[in-house]
Amino acid sequence: MSPLPRRRGRARPAGPAPYVLDRMVRNVRHGRFERTLSLLTAAGSLVTAAEIYLEHDRASFGNRVMWWPVLLGPVGAAAGVAGFASERMAKTALPLASAAIAANGLQGTYLHVRGIAQKPGGWSMARCNIELGPPLFAPLLVTMVGGMGLLAALLRRER
């Protein structure tokens, strides 16, 4: 993804880099990846939330906590876009939202593990209950999205 259009008046890094791809490679080499990763976090949040909505709707939102990752999706998306647009947001809103998403993923893992344990037979029928029960590793993917956002906040901003 191209970091264009860039703001005018910024000091350009030294050396010639006529192509977008060259500039991107240079940005990555120097740890300047904040805006791209913010946008990726935004997209990841939305896609994850949409999938979680469908999966949790299939399970009837039986525990209303199941709405949290769905609601955190737009929050992560907004924070990601804000981090893309503003450096200040990338250092404040983005890490906050990302931390919440990552924590929610860990909470989800706990709840899914508990759900599997409470199926008839529990862990003594691990294969059957993991396959048929709440997906064991899916919430960790949410934590990954949150981790992406946290990483974005730590990075340097593209030039």
Binding site: A59, R64, G115, G121
Partner: protein
């Protein structure tokens, strides 16, 4: 890998017993005892054994060792009197019928061949058996031959197809708990299930291609299928449906929990009921005058108990059966679940006598909801005024709008899972539709081909977490009691909350009479039997919830000076207008493996034919639903076609290829379909209920029409052969509600007209039955009545302390 006679060409290598390690202890105990050494005969005499042994071999075509020990299994049932309880009016009790019919067969052999039955050649024996079969409804040795034949096939097929060796032969998965099924759908098999080696229809020998519709093409369209009128479609309707569903799934559960916390009172551990709730239950003395005594703890009784306990009333609920512990009392097995049904003696008669038991009775805390399929549809608005609208049936003293809020409350408490419901009053369901198995797929496919609307649901099975209740595991034993706690029964949806709020549920107490004060104006309590002793529970109000046969029986048995013809029976209405739904079931044979036992039997239904169609000669209609007979019930289907012996076995080996649909036809309420007291007494010395039932012409037309539609749906889905069994389901009416005492027993608030503090709170109050399964409506009516009762507060009789009883 043992199979009867060691024949198993179709599921070679399949061994259900290899899975025994995954069964729960209670189920293992019941099932594995069938493969152990059987006890000696206790019921049959030597002479009877000499007839029964070859007869059973003929009925089941068991000619080679190892044999399923059918003789010993039937003998044990009869010796322990594990009968269904009911009998036809023109038949003796089951044990006596067995003795007489075996003697009759021996007499036939002696008369025709001059030798005992056991000494005849196999062909001559078969001819004698076939002769009984061919006698039909005519009398044979003083009994209707058809009923004798039903007795023989029912007992022998139940014994045979309850045996794991027989399951190996037919590819049935056997018990499924705690393990459920993972792979649902057409042609899907668990890793341990074995593919059918000869999927070709053994009867028609058809080589039909999977999914082809050619076989029934000439028949499709003959029944003039049409979509239900007035159904809204389009984006606006879709948006409304989505918004309604969203409203239900986002509503905080706190409100529901504040109303009924049952789902949160169940244990989270591997136990299914918190025994501490029972041990810590509040207990009343007989002399305590409680605010309300409820008779029967089923759909109506348990709901009323919970509601009134929540309103702060002191409530005692008397239940004739036991307080179930699902972990130890229920098994994942058809034949082992007999104790869930009401098996006290009853007599049935009429031109269309209704067999009783599995699908119209219940016993123990939870009543029949412990083993109902779980379908929970609402009635349609038109059901409440069929007399005005269609000129048949009766008008209710309330309207659909009076029940809507109650329907919504109960649907959330069960909870009900299903797609947005477009029929009747369109409404969403709180839980999402379940995935469907092979049977549901076939119904959806056939309905789509014919343009019939079919939807997944509505079933009272949790699809997702609900309080501490887990998700369904798709084990298919809904009708044997849900050991998972996923399917709703009042044992888990209302009883825990009732106990937590101070109600007493006194199990193993058979109520024998309702007492009135000296003037016969108000009820003062009930007489009941506990551990053989008669007791009397005083109460300021009494609610009877014993279902359509036992409620009228109790009222009739409670005759007193004021009510010489039976309590509340001034106008000869108690026991009248009892209804059953015509429930023909049609099965279709598919080349694909259906394996209908793998998902819950209730999956998909259609209410396209619910309302009166002006183009048809009959009034009112029927609904269509999937049903999934397990092997024993499937054997009943096959036997009903007249198959026995080798024919029966051939059809049964085809078990995994059959999909089954059931209809519920709205049979009309008729005054002569009634419960009366029989001459016969039960073990407590009380006259038993005599239930007489006959259909009218409208009923017969409806049942025929439903059968035709089901056959067409199955053929459209690709069935190569269809068979239909005619049967009944549900029981309602008997103490119907009405606007005034001349036309009914209770008013819209379920209070009897004759005794102000006596209520009837079960299915017997329904004036008409619709084509919907009645459980939800019974609970909704009781929810409404409880609110009305609480609003009037404790208005019953307060006897002075120490007054003589």
């Amino acid at each position: 890998m043992t199979t009867p006679g060691r024949h198993n060409p179709r599921f070679a290598g399949y061994d259900v017993l290899a899975r025994a390690g995954t069964w729960d202890a209670a189920t293992s105990g019941v099932v594995l005892s069938r493969t152990a050494v059987q006890p000696d005969l206790r019921f049959f005499t030597l002479a009877e054994e000499a007839v029964a042994r070859p007869l059973f071999d003929h009925l089941l075509a068991q000619w080679d060792e190892p044999r399923v020990p059918v003789l010993q299994m039937v003998d044990a049932r009869l010796a322990e009197m594990q009968t269904d309880g009911w009998r036809f009016a023109d038949m003796p009790e089951d044990d006596e019928a067995w003795r007489r019919s075996l003697a009759g067969l021996d007499d036939d052999a002696r008369a025709l061949h001059g030798a005992p039955f056991g000494g005849l050649a196999r062909e001559r024996q078969a001819a004698l058996v076939q002769a009984v079969r061919d006698t039909g409804s005519a009398r044979w040795h003083g009994m209707p031959a058809g009923h004798v034949w039903g007795l023989w096939t029912r007992y022998t097929a139940t014994a045979y197809y309850s045996h794991p060796w027989a399951w190996n032969e037919i590819g049935f998965g056997g018990p499924a708990y705690p393990r459920g099924y993972v792979r649902l759908g057409l042609g899907q098999r668990e890793p341990w299930e074995v593919q059918d080696q000869h999927p070709v229809d053994p009867v028609t020998d058809s080589e039909q291609v999977v999914g082809s519709r050619s076989a029934g093409a000439e028949r499709v369209g003959t029944t003039d299928h049409r979509a239900a009128p007035g159904r809204r479609r389009g984006p606006a309707a879709a948006a409304r449906a989505a918004a309604g569903t969203l409203r239900l799934t986002t509503a905080p559960t706190g409100r529901l929990r504040a109303r009924n916390a049952s789902a949160w009172l169940l244990p989270r551990s591997d136990q299914r009921f918190d025994r501490a709730l029972v041990d810590g239950m509040r207990r009343y003395e007989d002399g305590d005058e409680v605010d309300l005594v409820v008779v029967g703890c089923g759909a109506g009784g348990a709901t009323l108990t919970q509601r009134m306990a929540r309103h702060g009333w002191s409530v005692v609920c008397l239940e004739a059966g036991p307080f179930w512990n699902p972990d130890t009392d229920w098994v994942s097995d058809e034949a082992g679940s007999h104790h869930l049904y009401w098996t006290e003696p009853r007599v049935v008669s009429g031109t269309d006598p209704v067999p009783l038991g599995a699908n119209n009775s219940g016993r123990g805390v939870g009543g029949s909801t412990t083993h109902f399929a779980g379908y929970a549809p609402r009635f349609h608005p038109s059901d409440f005024a069929t007399l005005t609208g269609d000129g048949v049936g009766a008008d209710w003293p309330l309207r659909y709008a009076d029940l809507r809020a109650s329907y919504e409350r109960i649907e959330q408490e069960l909870p009900v899972a299903g797609q947005y419901w477009p029929w009747g009053d369109p409404h969403p369901y709180p839980h999402a539709p379940h995935p469907v198995g092979g049977n549901g797929e076939v119904f959806l496919r056939g309905a789509a081909a014919l343009g019939i609307g079919a939807r997944v649901g509505p079933v009272a099975i949790a699809n997702g977490r609900f309080g501490n209740r887990p998700h369904c595991v798709y084990r298919g034993f809904c009708l044997q009691g849900c050991k998972v706690n996923a399917k709703a029964s009042t044992l888990i949806t209302h009883v825990p909350d009732a106990l937590a709020h101070g109600a007493e549920i006194r199990a193993d107490c058979m109520v024998t009479g309702i007492e009135l004060d000296a003037q016969g104006r108000l009820a003062t309590g009930v007489r009941y039997l506990r551990e053989g002793r008669e007791r009397f529970q005083r109460a300021r109000a009494v609610a009877v919830a014993g279902y359509s046969l036992e409620t009228p029986r109790l009222l009739l048995n409670s005759a007193c000076r004021r009510f010489p013809e039976g309590l509340c029976n001034d106008f000869d209405l108690v026991g009248r207008y009892v209804m059953v739904q015509g429930a023909p079931q049609t099965s279709g044979r598919f080349t694909e493996e259906i394996r209908a036992y793998k998902a819950p039997p209730p999956e998909v239904s259609s209410e396209d034919y619910y309302e009166t169609d002006p183009a048809k000669p009959y009034k009112r209609g029927f609904s269509l639903q999937t049903v999934s007979p397990l092997p024993i019930v499937w054997a009943e289907h096959v036997s009903a076609q007249g198959h026995w012996g080798e024919d029966l076995r051939t059809y049964m080996r085809d078990f995994v290829h059959w999909a089954t649909l059931g209809a519920l036809c709205e049979l009309l309420p008729l005054p002569d379909n009634r419960v009366t007291l029989s001459q016969e007494k039960d073990r407590y010395g009380l006259p038993v209920a005599h239930f007489s039932y006959s259909q009218c012409d409208n009923d017969r037309m409806l049942i025929r029409a439903a059968q035709t539609v089901m056959e067409d749906v199955l053929r459209a889905a690709g069935a190569t052969e269809v068979i239909t069994i005619n049967r009944y389901a549900h029981l309602v009416g008997g103490c119907r509600m009405a606007a005034g005492p001349e036309s009914g027993v209770v008013d819209a608030d379920l209070r009897t007209f004759a005794v102000p503090n006596l209520l009837v709170t079960d299915g017997s109050v329904l004036p008409t039955q619709g084509s919907a399964n009645p459980a939800l409506t019974i609970m909704a009516l009781v929810d409404r009545a409880a609110g009305r009762l609480a609003a009037g507060q404790r208005s019953g009789l307060r006897a002075p302390a120490g007054a003589p009883r």
